[in-house]
């Protein structure tokens, strides 16, 4: 019994199906709790008024947008190094969710920026590099759709993903490296957070919601991808659910 046996699509498929609903429920519960804290308990910000409540989705979505890319790059490296099918499928399953998270981060950022900074958009380093992240996700999805042979598409997408990973530290450090309109981090791994603890709590609970949601959606999507690509094989034909269909 080893964890490595789950690197086979046939072994991972039922596990993903078992786990996905639990992550979906965890996401829903965290979202309800986070929204309750964020709107019901957290007080009005003395500088930004109620507009600051946008950060409860903006920051989790922005974190997810970068983190999903890092995970995608990790699976791409594994896929290239060991030529394993499931790792490439995992990378494939993460790209659309990463794109959605990036879109949400950009959209909510614009709607927060207008009342707070006086503009929806500026070509500053943080926003521009986050926009490039969105285009990278689009590029990975488009590249896969352009290549008919899935195994060749795996390799091409893996290379593009790994090269594009250079953008992630640029996004992360952009507020330090350049003089940006976007403010520096209020919450970082190395220093005490510079925000009220109840606001921080709402943001962290929403971050867990974003995590669980992304995992749930990626698991359902990777199951679809496994079926799309492994159909015709004996184990897929033997799935009880398909024989009933």
């Amino acid at each position: 019994m080893s964890l490595y046996q789950y690197s086979a699509p046939a072994a991972f498929y039922p596990v993903a199906g078992l786990l996905a609903p639990w992550f979906a429920w965890a996401a829903a519960l965290c979202a309800i709790a986070g929204l309750w804290i964020g709107f019901g308990i957290a007080p009005t910000d003395f500088q930004q008024g109620e507009a600051y409540r946008i950060i409860f989705i903006h920051v989790p979505a922005a974190w997810m947008s970068m983190f999903i890319y890092v995970v995608m790059a990790f699976w791409s490296i594994v896929a290239l190094a060991f030529n394993t099918r499931l790792s490439a499928m995992m990378a494939q399953a993460l790209a659309p969710t990463g794109a959605w998270m990036t879109f949400i981060a950009l959209w909510t950022g614009a709607l927060w920026g207008r009342p707070t900074w006086g503009t929806y958009w500026a070509w500053d380093a943080r926003m521009t590099s986050e926009l490039i992240l969105l285009f990278l996700y689009f590029g990975v999805v488009a590249l896969r759709n352009a290549i008919d042979d899935p195994r060749r598409a795996d390799r091409a997408c893996a290379v593009l993903t790994i090269v594009g990973a250079v953008n992630i530290p640029i996004i992360y450090f952009s507020v330090q490296w350049w003089n940006t309109l976007h403010q520096g981090a209020s919450v970082s791994l190395t220093a005490a957070p510079r925000m009220a603890s109840i606001m921080l709590t709402a943001m962290l609970v929403m971050t867990f919601a974003a995590w669980f949601y992304s995992i749930a959606v990626a698991l359902v999507r990777v199951r679809a991808i496994i079926l799309e690509r492994e159909r015709g094989s004996a184990w897929v034909a033997g799935l009880p659910r398909l024989q009933r269909a």
Binding site: A51, R53, I57, T108, A224, L227, E228, G232, S233
Partner: protein, 52 residues
């Protein structure tokens, strides 16, 4: 009503939360549809045809 007004920032707050919620609903719905389509496709594919 006061809650919906968000101290004058209602358009920005609900515009942000509304579109984010819509994005999540659309993604969740489309991934579900893809999973169902994949099951149908797999069920319709004969076992000896090793198409990927």
């Amino acid at each position: 009503m006061e809650f919906l007004a968000m101290g004058g920032y209602g358009f920005y707050v609900w515009g942000a939360y509304g579109v984010a919620a819509l994005a999540i609903v659309v993604e969740a719905w489309s991934v579900r549809a893809r999973a169902r389509a994949a099951e149908k496709l797999a069920a319709a594919t004969p076992s000896e045809d090793r198409g990927r």
